[in-house]
């Protein structure tokens, strides 16, 4: 469902010159799979996801998402994805219900579809007691649930989560990881980026370790352990990026 082919992204910064944020990244990811992107801050995870979500254009290389080329058919790609990051916010002066309905309508859903699916999702995420209030009055947990509803309303086959649990308390974070697992079980393709090891261990079917814009290794947790000869995932990670003490 996702196939990245040598995706690269360069930025030109006034002070720092040319920055290679993502360098020749290739990977594949299938329906019913949670694909984890693990890397430290600044490794290029967000840039990679933004390219796949067509917010940014690759400097070179391309990718197909849900069968559409991110460079040639960006609008088709956007129609088939859900995107949730820790920085995506809500429109403060809309109610939770209006917020979800707005994005549903942008995805071309009919008012009936929006109504019916919202009811389902609001019930499932236990949102009915607050969803008619204005978004600026919500707690961060409530906000994140509205964002989840917004992400899933159009039932996208591909989902991107960019550090979705950053800055959230453990209860909210848990509800998000549960939701991500549920998406996988529904047969969706899920890409999940994080710098938190435990989340990767708990959630991801396959893992790509990304460091300084490059993918250093791809595989299941077991494969990565075998490859490095390490047991603890932190050690595995550090060995792969070449920052462990023994190297």
């Amino acid at each position: 469902m996702i196939e990245a082919k040598e995706l690269s992204k360069q930025f030109t910064d006034k002070k720092r010159g040319v920055i290679q944020a993502v360098n020749q990244v290739s990977f594949q990811c299938s329906p019913g799979e949670i694909f984890g992107l693990l890397g430290p801050n600044g490794a290029g995870k967000t840039t990679l996801l933004r390219m796949l979500a067509t917010i940014l254009q690759p400097t070179s290389g391309t990718a197909t998402v849900a069968g559409f080329d991110i460079c040639k058919q960006p609008q088709e790609v956007r129609s088939h994805i859900g995107y949730l990051s820790n920085s995506t916010a809500l429109y403060e002066r809309l109610t939770g219900r209006e917020m979800v309905a707005y994005f549903g309508a942008l995805h071309g859903l009919t008012p009936q579809e929006i109504q019916q699916r919202s009811e389902e999702i609001f019930a499932e995420l236990d949102m009915n007691d607050f969803v008619d209030g204005r978004c600026d009055k919500f707690s961060s947990g409530q906000k994140q649930r509205v964002s989840i509803a917004r992400t899933i309303l159009h039932q996208p086959p591909v989902l991107f989560f960019d550090e979705p649990t950053n800055g959230l308390d453990i209860i909210t974070a848990r509800s998000i990881t549960r939701f991500i697992r549920q998406c996988r079980n529904q047969g969706r393709t899920v890409v999940f980026s994080t710098h938190i090891m435990s989340e990767v261990e708990a959630l991801c079917d396959r893992i790509a370790i990304i460091y300084q814009g490059r993918i250093c290794a791809i595989g299941t947790l077991e494969e990565l352990r075998e490859r490095t000869g390490k047991r603890a995932f932190e050690d595995v990670f550090l060995r792969i990026i070449g920052e462990d003490d023994e190297a």
Partner: protein, 413 residues
């Protein structure tokens, strides 16, 4: 949630583009008018604050003028004893207190503010008058003092009136009609199509008010639209929706434009309300009553559109370029100055200007409104200025759309 995966919005995104634009526009309008700050600056400001402000200024000015008129002033008379008829007549003047004063004291008393002015009558006044000779009268005043000037003015008026009465008596004594002294009767006759004094004043301040309110009415909205969304992190969400960037920027542009037009139209309504409040506001406005011709209204509305497109385009460009609202505000300050300068200039120059002026952004457009209100058109000027402002508006809008396609300004990296 259903476990099946359906795909939505496939294939026909082009056909839905217009409806997405409309969706974005409607959502922005909904949000804009839920914001109390917008309501204040767009609706309450022009409809309530402006009329109240003008009414207040008018009230203060007119009561002050009324007070000046009825204020009692003191004048000294030198030689009143030798001119009893003149003295008696001066004592009849309302709000004027008459005191005798010696010639040597006169200047000092004025300086001490004991007297506002002094009239020095000739000692042989009664003789001169009897012989039909002009009687030299000196009025002594302190030119640097408002009350002294007012007193001198009242004295002059009084002497003019007295003089007329004396002439009348002399004519009667010779059995001549009073008309002998008035070879002309002068009367001003304002032409029908021209503006009256009220619309002259309106023609001066309306274009300025219009520009200011069109600009200031949508500044906040425009900065909120892109810079504000970047700041709050909602723009990213919108960018991953199927809406194209063109839909997004045009939807937002339409919302800003609506605010801009609404703000300027309401400011005109506010001004018209102000000028229709008769009596206490502006003496000159209530004299003639306000008459706005349909042509003037039509031309004004026609000019508002390209002006608003220009402002909305400029401000949206700033909003897109800036990383946050605070940065955007630093760009708005010089922009506001650039817009205000020509608007201010329009207040002070007449409608009879060279045609190249039509090409100056904002100024040309404001002059058209001024021409329309004062009833003196130059069709070539109107065409030039209108055409120029459409060009400027198109350039601003095109630039705003172009800039919105650039990922480097949209996404923080």
């Amino acid at each position: 949630m259903t476990p099946t995966i359906t795909t939505n919005g496939n294939g026909n995104s082009g056909a839905r583009s217009g409806s997405r634009l409309l969706l974005i526009f409607l959502k922005e309008i909904r949000e804009i008018f839920r914001d109390k700050r917008t309501i204040r600056s767009v609706i309450i400001g022009p409809l309530v604050i402006t009329p109240l402000m003008f009414a207040g200024i008018g009230l203060i000015v007119s009561t002050q003028t009324e007070k000046e008129k009825t204020k009692e002033l003191t004048i000294g008379i030198v030689g009143g004893a030798q001119a009893p008829s003149l003295l008696a007549a001066l004592q009849q003047v309302p709000n004027l207190k008459v005191e005798p004063v010696s010639p040597s004291d006169a200047e000092g008393r004025i300086r001490e503010r004991k007297l506002n002015a002094v009239a020095i009558l000739p000692p042989d006044y009664e003789h001169l008058n009897a012989d039909y000779k002009p009687a030299p009268i000196q009025i002594m005043l302190d030119e640097g003092e408002a009350n002294s000037q007012a007193a001198a003015g009242r004295l002059q008026d009084a002497f003019t009136k007295l003089g007329e009465q004396i002439v009348l008596r002399r004519l009667q004594a010779h059995n001549l009609s009073a008309d002998v002294a008035h070879p002309f009767t002068l009367q001003e006759k304002p032409i029908q199509s021209g503006g009256n004094s009220a619309s002259f004043f309106l023609a001066m301040i309306l274009p300025y008010t219009l520009v200011v309110s069109a600009f200031s009415g949508c500044v906040f909205t425009a900065l909120d639209q892109v810079a504000g969304e970047k700041e709050r992190g909602t723009l990213e969400t919108l960018l991953v929706s199927p809406a194209s960037r063109r839909d997004i920027v045009l939807g937002k542009f339409a919302a800003v434009l609506t605010t801009c037009i609404l703000s300027s139209v309401l400011s005109i309504v506010g001004l018209v309300i102000t000028f229709s409040l008769r009596g206490n506001v502006f003496a000159l406005a209530s004299q003639g009553g306000l008459h706005l011709s349909p042509v003037a209204v039509g031309v004004t509305l026609m000019v508002i559109l390209p002006l608003s497109v220009l402002f909305a385009g400029l401000l949206l460009t700033v909003s897109t370029y800036a990383r946050n609202q605070r940065e955007a505000q630093t760009y708005v300050a010089p922009l506001l100055l650039m817009v205000l300068m020509p608007a201010m200039v329009s207040m002070f120059i007449g409608t009879d200007v060279g045609r190249p002026i039509a090409l100056v952004p904002v100024l040309g457009a404001t002059i058209i409104i001024k021409q329309a209100l004062s009833g003196s058109y130059d069709p070539a000027f109107i065409l030039l200025a209108f055409g120029a402002s459409i060009v400027y508006a198109a350039v601003a809008l095109t630039y705003a759309i172009r800039l919105f396609q650039k990922e480097s300004v949209l996404v923080k990296t």
